[in-house]
Symmetry: C2
Subunit: 429 residues, 2 copies
């Protein structure tokens, strides 16, 4: 009966393991193997003179990264990883690896990102890389637990749609039988319709698709978005919810992923509530202290400004009170100062993680704001209809899951946070 | 402070609620409203002579399905729903509904499916319809809990891909910048690559896309698939896992969705483990007892055969030992009888819910099987490469989430189990 490598302790008497050959060292009379499975490493030592002939033969012929089944006696040995080693009676090659390997799994120096993604299945065998995806899975787990425990309903919205959420050009067209369709940029319109449906609190974790032309270390053409929408809530309510979620995810990862964080040599910068809130006007002012190209009110915050503000803030923070004209039509303007809207961005010092707002729930105001963006209300008929028959006030946000992981683990490139990235030039594997 | 309608009990003294106007009855001196929120219904009674004038005015002008805020005294009344009613001091119309409604939410007789989907946001206000999606959300919750508790890693695989999983023609093409790409039919190849990566146990709940031309009550062009893959496991191991999952989901729904099941007037047919296993050959034999068009060994089971076998079985069951030629190239043939494969379908009496298999993990056999299907190994290079460098034996399955919900709740049409269905003719809302 096979056991996980992490379950083999110095006091285990006999163990059968299955794993990959991570390292091989042959010292003449002794052959050493480092065997790896999902849970850890174990040293396997073969004294060639004493070991069964079949074991010696298999050990001689096996290549690195082959899958092997090994059964034998466990011995406590201080200097071995985990303080124990395995001396095999049985050594079976289950699946042999060709050589040379296109990517060296045991290598300390990292290969180029492109080379790594080309052989992603080998790349993620590296404990450092695998750790990212174990943590990502834990974060998804924590997100689900958190939102279900707060009474949210998980929804599934369509990815094939007839209209662009924001009327933009950054859309991938699909041939949908005889019709033209698009890949959805965001579940925005659909999650709002579920407010009209009376679902009150909904969430979705799902792919979003953006045909952005530029190739950067923080954009993906296919990304994962956590979308949340809440009825009878305003922007402040959902900002608190977002803070709570971020803190909960960090705490969950800190508690459940100690080994992975150690592998990554990451010490989590634990966020604390409440995140500071600065207005857009204050953000501009902070940026203008240091950025060479000064920003005027109404400008988008570019990368340089985000960096400057992030350095000044030094922690997660919110930017609130955005100019209505640079936020989407569905953001609610303040009644008394309609040039400002109840929109917010939630920022990590390195970059934006989330955008949200109290939404416009009044049909006529929404039509007006759609027109003001130069869009045609006719294209949004299926959406606008939901505002005519009892749409409650509501608010919500979308959070980039890859950006959450990237900033949490201080990864240099967003491609590190997704198994199979899709970008301007990459469509495989 | 607003409270949920279900939290207003006969002993509550004073309550503020927000909800939708479900029904209005005017009996001259008394006006009755039935107000609905996500959690239930409450009767609101307005004695016109005694009530504040503002309340009477608001009550007179409000239309059905408007959103209202009502605050007032609670009285225990036996014949009212929940044994209590609300006598308002305050009655505020938060969001007025236009009339006539495109769909009657309080109506007992159901509209046509197409009419319902056209106004889906109104359709799901019906407690019966909303119940389906609360149960679907609970099922997703149970699936997550079950798989995380068993040590599975949640993965995200790309939906935009360069190659078809099964080389079929049922693909939606995408213009991906200057390249041609497709919407992925299944995470099959990607979850298998994660076995080569050493992830051992993975799952994903995500959209799949199939450009099937035919429009039926059990097919969708965009559906949700739960995909699971396990290393060092065979078909029997993952069939047990699948049984456990199904039973767990049913038990979770039975325990947590009592009100929703009552709304739907559904008594769950609780599945019991182990599900009976019949071979493909036995399945053909059972079908041939009743179907008019007799099946020969090697035929696909059509709708009529599935129905006949389902009636004979009367519960969830597995069909095992399928002919290799009618299963995908990645299904493992039995070593001694390679014309049969270690593939299975998991069936509800009404239809197939899941397909799975032990997979081929040997590179050369896989190439041979790809060729035998008339496909070109060159198109699968990114996938085949993962089989050259230590691919462990593995097995897995995919489960249709909408079919799971449809069969669990005895829904006549799969469109009932998805908020915004996509089919041959429908792309909105």
């Amino acid at each position: 009966m096979r056991i996980s490598i992490q379950d083999v302790t110095p006091t285990t008497e006999y163990a059968e393991i299955i794993g990959w050959v991570h390292e091989v060292r042959d010292l003449g009379g002794l052959a050493f193997f480092l065997i790896r499975d999902r849970t850890g490493f174990i040293q396997v030592t073969i004294p060639k003179k004493k070991a069964p002939e079949a074991v010696v033969e298999a050990a001689k012929s096996v290549s690195r990264e082959s899958v092997v089944r090994i059964a034998g006696t466990v011995k406590g040995i201080e200097k071995a990883p985990g303080g124990r080693e395995l001396v095999p009676d049985e050594f079976e090659i289950i699946s042999s690896a060709a050589s040379p390997l296109p990517l060296d799994v045991a290598e300390k120096v990292s290969a180029e990102m492109d080379t790594r993604i080309d052989s992603r299945f080998l790349d993620v065998r590296k404990p450092r890389v695998k750790a990212i995806f174990v943590i990502r899975s834990a974060a998804v787990h924590a997100i689900n637990d958190f939102l279900f425990s707060r009474g949210f309903i998980h929804i599934t919205t369509p990815k094939i749609v007839a209209a662009a959420t924001e009327g933009g050009t950054e859309l991938f067209p699909i041939a949908y039988f005889e019709k033209e369709a698009f890949l959805n940029q965001s579940p925005q319109l659909y999650k709002q319709m579920m407010m009209a449906a009376g679902f009150e609190k909904v969430f979705e974790i799902a792919p979003i698709f953006r045909a952005e032309e530029h190739n950067t270390v923080r954009h993906l053409n296919e990304a994962t978005s956590l979308d949340v929408e809440v009825s009878f809530a305003d922007h402040n309510d959902v900002m608190e919810l977002l803070e709570d979620l971020i803190v909960t995810v960090y705490e969950y990862v800190a508690e459940h992923c100690k080994a992975e964080l150690a592998n990554l040599e990451v010490e989590l910068a634990m966020p604390t509530k409440p995140f500071p809130r600065i207005t857009y006007a204050e953000a501009i002012e902070i940026a203008n202290r240091t950025v060479p190209e000064k920003l005027a009110f109404g400008d988008d915050l570019g990368t340089a400004a985000e960096k400057a503000i992030g350095e000044a803030m030094g922690q997660h923070y919110f930017i609130v009170d955005w100019p209505t004209e640079i936020k989407p039509y569905y953001a609610m303007p303040y009644p008394d100062t309609p040039e400002l809207s109840k929109a917010f961005d939630m920022m990590h010092p390195r970059m934006e993680l989330s955008s949200g707002a109290q939404r416009v729930h009044q049909h006529d105001l929404l039509v007006e704001q759609i027109r003001a963006k130069g869009l045609s209300p006719e294209s949004f008929e299926f959406y606008l209809k939901a505002f005519e028959y009892g749409m409650p006030p509501h608010a919500g946000w979308g959070l980039g899951v890859e950006r959450l992981i990237m900033t949490m683990l201080d990864l240099p490139n967003i491609r590190e946070a997704v198994l199979f990235p899709r970008d301007r030039h990459r469509l495989t594997p």
